[in-house]
Every structure is written in C-alpha cells, then in structure tokens.
C-alpha cells in the first residue's frame, strides 16, 4: 500500500516522476477509445443531425441555414407514410419470425431424433449475409424468370406471372417474407435456450393434474418465458426498425416508394437525391423514434434485473 510521503521526504525524491492517481490513469487508458468513439460515432452523428437545419446538396458547394424548414417539410410530407411503412415492416418482421421461431423451438425442445442436426440446419438462413438473402429472394420473386411464378403456375394457383416486387400490394409482403426467412433462426435459438430452462417437473405435475398441452403451454411455458419473449421481441423490433439491406437490395424502397422505410429513405434522399438537408431531417426524426424504443428497452432490462 502506498502512503503519502511527508513533505520533508518530497524534496529528496523530487527528481522521481510523479505517480498518477487511479482516476487519471484510468481516464488516460479510456481516452483513446473515447477519442475513437467521438471521431467515428459522435462527430458524424452530430454532423449528420446538424445538416437537418441546412439546405445542403451533395453535389453543389455551400449550404444555407434554413432552421426547422427541412423538418417541417418531412413532417408535412412523407413522414406519416414512412412511419406507417416502417411499422408494417417492423411488426411483420418481428411477429412472423417469432411465431415460426417459437414453433420450431417447441418442436426441437422435444426428444425428437436428429434435433441437434435440425437445429444446426435451421441456423443456415441466419448465417447467410443479408445481401445474399436479398439476391436469393430477388430471383425467387422475379416477375419474368422467378421460381415463385414457375411454382405457382405449375400448380395452377396463378395463370400468368405476377410482378411480386413491382406491385405495392405484394412488394412489402415479399420483403417481410425474405426478412422472416433470415430472422427466424435467431428467435428459435433464443427461445429454445429459454425453453430448456423450464423445469420438466412443472409440466409433469401439471400433466398429473390433468392439464392438456395447450393449457400447459399457456400456464407454464409462456409465463416461464415471459422475460425472454419480451426481450427478443423488443430487440428484434428495434433492429427491424432500422433495417436496411434486404429492403434496399430487394426493392430499393419501390415500387413508387411503397416499401420505403426510414432507413432506405435516408439513404435514397442523401445518396440518390443528393439532398443532405432533407435526409438529415428524416434521420433526426427517425432517431427520436429510436430513442423512444431504446428507453423502453432500458426500462424493460431494469425491470428484468429487479425480478
């Protein structure tokens, strides 16, 4: 243990370097990471948000301060459409993978043969990069030489090829399907892990008391998994709210903007429309909504810890 040196001794050791306090030392250690965070996260984020208050083009030099005009333009323009489409995508790509993932987790939690192999195989879609998933589904849904049309025509469900990605009514469904295919394994793995923590004795006791499968599912399994269900739904919701790659590659936000979400709209506006101010305004509003979701997540996590 180091003790404070008497002042008389200090003069004799004054040529020795001074010791750093724990606080200063810790701060200096954190400093490079902090500097990196400021440089690659905070600075670009603030810069991007600041552009929301300027009329600024990616092509033309200079910018002009316009106050809240960009934000007003977004709020009175595409905001409600983007919010609705983002919510449709987010809810769809959260609920469908959840239902499929839960069903598969329940199946794999039984003592069926080959459960481990099946579990591994089911993970494949989750391991495939989003862009690859998008191209795969783009070919499946292609109006002119896609597998989907060939299959449905083959079994007589449609009599002429459908433009799945070129019709607003089907394009969002196609995007949700592609994302569901990619996401369900993660849901499955998380829920399966949760299911394996549910004591078998509870089920056995309920069975002796005459509870059927459905009753046991709703009275034992679901309550026992409440925490993990809430967590995976919330996390998936937040991720999907900011999802970009599958939508962008599959439809580019089209047709006529019908699959555009906040994520693709920011990119399209900034890098295809070259309108940085408008893109910044969409980004700012999108971030406010995301912050609200993060607050819900933090509250949920805190509640979980309290339990």
């Amino acid at each position: 243990m180091t003790t404070t040196a008497p002042s008389s001794q200090l003069s004799t050791t004054s040529n020795k370097p001074k010791r750093l306090s724990d606080g200063v030392f810790a701060f200096l250690l954190v400093l490079p990471g902090l500097a990196l965070l400021l440089a690659v996260v905070v600075y670009p984020l603030i810069t991007a948000l600041v552009t929301a208050f300027f009329k600024q083009s990616l092509v033309l030099p200079g910018r002009e301060f316009v106050g809240f005009q960009n934000i007003i333009d977004v709020l009175t323009g595409e905001f409600s459409r983007l919010l609705w489409q983002t919510l449709v995508f987010t809810i769809g790509t959260t609920l469908f993978p959840f239902v499929i993932g839960f069903a598969l987790a329940l199946a794999l939690n039984t003592r069926i043969r080959g459960a481990k192999v099946l579990r591994g195989l089911m993970l494949i879609p989750w391991l495939v990069p989003g862009v690859v998933v998008s191209f795969l589904w783009m070919w499946i849904f292609n109006a002119n030489y896609g597998v989907m049309n060939a299959l449905l025509e083959g079994i007589g469900l449609i009599d002429q090829p459908q433009a799945w990605l070129a019709q607003p009514a089907t394009a969002m469904g196609a995007v949700i399907l592609a994302k569901t295919w990619q996401s369900f394994p993660w849901m499955m793995v998380m829920l399966l892990a949760g299911l394996q923590t549910v004591p078998r004795e509870l089920h056995e006791a309920a069975e002796i008391d005459g509870a059927g499968t459905i009753r046991r599912f709703f009275s034992i399994t679901v309550p026992q998994l409440k925490g993990i269900i809430g967590l995976v739904l919330l996390l998936e919701f937040i991720w999907n709210f900011q999802h970009f790659d599958i939508i962008y590659v599959l439809t580019g936000g089209g047709p006529a903007g019908s699959t555009q979400t906040f994520a693709t709209a920011v990119y399209e506006t900034a890098f295809h429309g070259f309108d940085l101010g408008h893109a910044g305004a969409i980004g700012l509003l999108w971030m406010v909504l995301l912050m609200a979701l993060v607050v819900v997540y933090v509250r949920f996590s805190e509640k979980g810890e309290e339990r």
Partner: protein
Amino acid sequence: MSDRTLFQSPISRRQALAIFGIGAATATLAACAPTGTGAAGGPAATAGTGSFAPTDFKFSSWSLTEEAAAPAIKSLLSGYSGKEDVTIEEVSFPYNEYFNQLMLQVRGGQFTGAAHVDVAWLGSLAALGKLQDVSALTADRGYTESSLKAAQFEGTQYAFPWTIGAIGLVTNSEILGKAGVDAEDFPTTIDDFEAALVKLKGLGGGLIPYAASTKAAQLKDILIWMQTFGSPLVKNGTVTIGDDASVEAVAWYKGLYDQGLIAADVDRFDARSLFAQGRAALYDDAPVGRGAVTKESPDPDLASKLVPVSRPTLKAGDTPRALVWGGAIAVVSGAGAETAADFGQWATSDLDTVLADYELRGLPPVTEEALSSDVVASDVFGSTFAERITKTATSNPFWVYPQYAQIETTIAEAVQAVLIGQKSPEDAMKSAGEAAQKLIG
C-alpha cells in the same frame, strides 16, 4: 496502491501509457498521412500542359463489373501499364450504382485518376470542381467535332470522348418475322408500332413484345418517348413535364403495360437477359448491348438477327428521336492525374488501341481515322445503328443541370406510380414537373 498491484502487470503505468501513446500517435499519423488521393479543390485544373514522369493511378469503370465488357477493359489497362510500366488500380461499381459511388468518392477525395463516365454525368461531376480540363490533350488528335462536344460541359473539355452513340430500339428479326413484322421495314408511327407489339404478343409462349424499362433505375427511358410525343422536357429553363405531350406519352406507356406489351420488373440488364434468351422481341439499348446479349444467348446466331431500328414517331414523317449515349474518360485532379490524362488520351485516340477495343466491345469510336477504318466501316450492325439511330440522336436537356440525377429519379418514380396505378398520368406528371422545376431553381 502501486502500479503493479493495480493491474498485476509487469508493465508500469508510465510504460503502458507510453505504449498507448506511441500506438495512438502512429494511428493518428497514419490517419493524417497523405493517401496519395488528395483531390484538388476549386475549379478544374488543366491537364497535359507539361512533361511528366508516369506514375501509378486509379481507373474506375462500370464495365469492369460486366462479364462481356470487362475483358476488353482489362486488356486496355494491361496494355497501358505494360507500355508505361505503371500500376493501374481498378475501381468498379455496377452501372446503376456507379454514378452515386463515383460522386461520393470524388467529392470525398478518395478517388483521383481516370474515370470512365457517361457523358450525361459530366455536369454533375464538373460541379464538384475536381475534373481537369483536358482540352490541351484533345487538340489535334483527330476526334470528331460532335464527340468532343459531347464530352464538354459549359464549353470546357472535361473528358476524352471514348465512344459516342445513342440508345435506340434493337430487335430480333427472327421473332419479328414470326409475327409478320419485317425488321427492315419496321413500323414508323406509334400506332403501327403498337399494332406490331400486339401481333408479337399474339405469338404467346410468355414472349414479352417490348422489354422496355419499368424499374425505377432505368425508367428515365420514358423521357425519349415524351420527346417523341412532342414534349421538349425543358424550354428556356422551364420544365415542361406535365404538358399534354408528356402526359400522353406516360398514358400510352401505361397502356402498353396494362396490355402486357411491356413487362413489369425490367431494367436494362433484365431486358438484355430476356432478349438474349429469346423471351423479348425488342428492347432499348446502346451498341454496347450487342456484346452482352450475344454472349449470354443460347442462340449462337443471335448476332446475325440483331437489327437496330428507328424509334417510331407520333406522325409519319417526323424525325425519329434517339438519346445520345456516350462514354468518356474524365480525369480527376490529384495523385496520378497526369498519367491518368495520358492514359485517357491514349485509350481514346490511339488507332491500334481503339480498333482493338472496337473488335472486343463493338462500341463506335470517336476519331475520324478509326471511324473510316475497314473494321468499323464493314460492321453492318454498327453502321446500321449509326444510320438509323445515332444520326438523329439528341442529348437529354436535363444533362446540363448538376441536379440531373435527382430530376431523373423524381420523374422515374412518378412514372412508376402511374404504371402501378397509384396515380393518374396527369397528377403524376404535374407533380414530377413541379419537383423537377424546384430542383433546377
């Protein structure tokens, strides 16, 4: 508390901080060091005004991502790098993404050197202030006057013209013949053209009569039809989209879509695939498409069945419309720019190089000498294309505006909204015209 007891480490705090300090300093220096790609700001510099020692440089081209064109470009690059003993770093993005990526890289200073550009993009790229004026290197090299003009913006020679042609209708004469339509006597009016498409549709078998662009990425093709219907698009700085002619053109296009005479979900690359497979009878393309469709086709004789035809007109006797299409090599100021400029001049005007490239890609050259060579003059497809399509081609009036890409995107999305029934042609074109006008200012 001592240093050692804090972290149980043989390294003292000072040593640890010194190591971190050296690491941070190295990282900072590396980050701040010139990358060799720093771009000159301000107005374009002038290339070719003095002697230079060849250095390594970057070359970007969308053609490097295309199976049919990439070998020709690679051969060109290896020819120059062997000749000058330099290394050329290849940069490539697919065509639909290329313009945006190039803009971002040039703007951010990550790209300097030679860039393969569509002549349509020169206005936007020039606005960044990083393209060099190459007029000193284009003088006395035998470029045709029209090709030099096509690679200029506001009177400045921002690029070496590489190939100047047009986008027009390319047909499969065999399929047309089956429907009783003669490719050599192709319909000259819109009404007759539509009637021919109906006949082609009648062949059945899932044939797409006209693989016109319907995806937003290439829906700019509608502009030439608007001009065909009589809309000037822009007149004295005023956008005319929303006028009767443009509305009529879009309504007609929607009619083709609803009748199944054009198909959903098609861009230039889909159109080439469908045409190559014999699933489309005609489509819009530049001469560069010939290489792609013949290479991709299961029909070894497809090349002999390709017939370029003039775009039909609204009334008999009108001049057929076609859109100028051209490739050029622009030089972006910064590291390697002088060598890049020398490469640009060599690639576009050295006779042997140009003819070798012509044999591989079939793109119309831009020098008088190359155009009059036997190789070019004896190419039936090339000369027919030039006679029927390029001869009356005009540039897009939006190209002079740096916001050209935004304008085209706005119009394309409005047309797509009409095709899928979200908006009426009148409403969509009116709002597209207003949005385009707002962009122009």
